[in-house]
Amino acid sequence: MAAVSGLVSGLLKRRFHWTAPAALQVTVRDAINQGMDEELERDEKVFLLGEEVAQYDGAYKVSRGLWKKYGDKRIIDTPISEMGFAGIAVGAAMAGLRPICEFMTFNFSMQAIDQVINSAAKTYYMSGGLQPVPIVFRGPNGASAGVAAQHSQCFAAWYGHCPGLKVVSPWNSEDAKGLIKSAIRDNNPVVVLENELMYGVPFEFPPEAQSKDFLIPIGKAKIERQGTHITVVSHSRPVGHCLEAAAVLSKEGVECEVINMRTIRPMDMETIEASVMKTNHLVTVEGGWPQFGVGAEICARIMEGPAFNFLDAPAVRVTGADVPMPYAKILEDNSIPQVKDIIFAIKKTLNI
């Protein structure tokens, strides 16, 4: 009897070998596609227009499959006239629709910046609250690979400067999907600054992100990595570089707190201040040019707020080089913040 029970308990103790289900990996491109698809399905008034968004499936394939699913009425190919089609999108928004206006890159949005700022951003205020403009401007922003000066500018500072606009800058897939959905549902003009080099990068998609109502609130930053020695604030692709730098420094005993801003305007200063008050050091990292940039604004606001008294060293900005983006690879690589630049800035701030 004892032998039998021993055998049974032995059998019961053995479990079948099992692995955890593979986490769902979704690229940033697919996340944006999903977000737009869900919003197009949810609300009849949402539509997408831009160059190559329909029949070509999107210049960067972000709108793949949408034209096949929704047709000509809701996915509209436009001629190469940003000022024209951005104006049309703003007019449609004024008349009650909810357009998503895609710029092939934000460099081309300069052609249409009058419509974005003067016709979209300022209108709700100028009309005394009578005329909302529920539009989303989206597209890749910032440096790509080898596309040189006229195609590599970062517009976070330019658009972040303007009252009346909301500006978001997603880093990973979760950010991309949550922010594009929030942007489409927002009744204000929202500029979504994506990144071409991030489109193909897969990230783990948590279960809540797979829901059709997954939203990330605009105006809230996320602490990607907890730390105690220094606060590193960034947005878009450089967030990845910051995390890499943090991993390297962790081996040396320096724990960095990495904050992913997610939203440029309205900026989540509470999260940044709370972190600086904890760590006493600040480094900002961005891809754009230094003068009047996102980092400059963060530093100014830190000085104006309670966190200033907690700083043990001046805040340092790591930015793109103050030149039009060069073409040669070696020059281009050295014109955007690299992991080594971030590590250098952190060590300089910490005086190690």
Partner: protein, 203 residues
């Protein structure tokens, strides 16, 4: 003196009944409607254009005249206020007094006569007349021009940024309103409603 005599005579004649024959003679000088010939327009992607004759009834005529007079007087007053520096910044008017002789009240009134209130209209910066014909009151317009919170945009818009239902301003950047108007028309087409958007440009 002359005025007093005229007033006295009016009072005295008003007291007595007018003979019927005199009334009939008086009414023979007024017509009840008028017919106008309209120049034939060039057509673009249309089979037939608007009619080449139209009839204006007395009622409509008086209504339009009243509207035009209101716009004229409002613009003249705005001009005066602008010269007194009570209206600041830009003040582009429909009347004949500011810069060039531009008596444009008829444009606003005539366009409004041709469309329904459910149609849409967008124009450039010379917008006061259209703001009135699209439904706002003179009070709201003048309050906006003088920067008061009773203005249609609560004083935050000014001369060039007045909005009303189905009226999209008032746009300061020359030419910006053209694609905006196309966008509004796209929305009309998208919604499947039988509405038109008038987009105005060129002074």
């Amino acid at each position: 003196m002359r005025k007093m005599l005229a007033a006295v005579s009016r009072v005295l004649s008003g007291a007595s009944q007018k003979p019927a024959s005199r009334v009939l003679v008086a009414s023979r000088n007024f017509a009840n409607d008028a017919t106008f010939e309209i120049k034939k327009c060039d057509l673009h992607r249309l089979e037939e254009g608007p009619p080449v004759t139209t009839v204006l009834t007395r009622e409509d005529g008086l209504k339009y005249y009243r509207m035009m007079q209101t716009v004229r007087r409002m613009e003249l007053k705005a001009d005066q206020l602008y010269k007194q520096k009570i209206i600041r910044g830009f003040c582009h008017l429909c009347d004949g007094q500011f810069l060039l002789p531009l008596t444009q009240e008829a444009c606003c009134v005539g366009l409004e006569a041709g469309i329904n209130p459910t149609d849409h209209l967008i124009t450039a910066y010379r917008a006061h007349g259209f703001t009135f014909t699209r439904g706002l009151s003179v009070r709201e317009i003048l309050a906006e021009l003088t920067g008061r919170k009773g203005g249609c945009a609560k004083g935050k818009g000014g001369s060039m940024h007045m909005y009303a239902k189905n009226f999209y301003g008032g746009n300061g950047i020359v030419g910006a309103q053209v694609p905006l108007g196309a966008g509004i028309a796209l929305a009309c087409k998208y919604n499947g409603k039988d509405e038109v958007c008038l987009t105005l440009y060129g002074d």
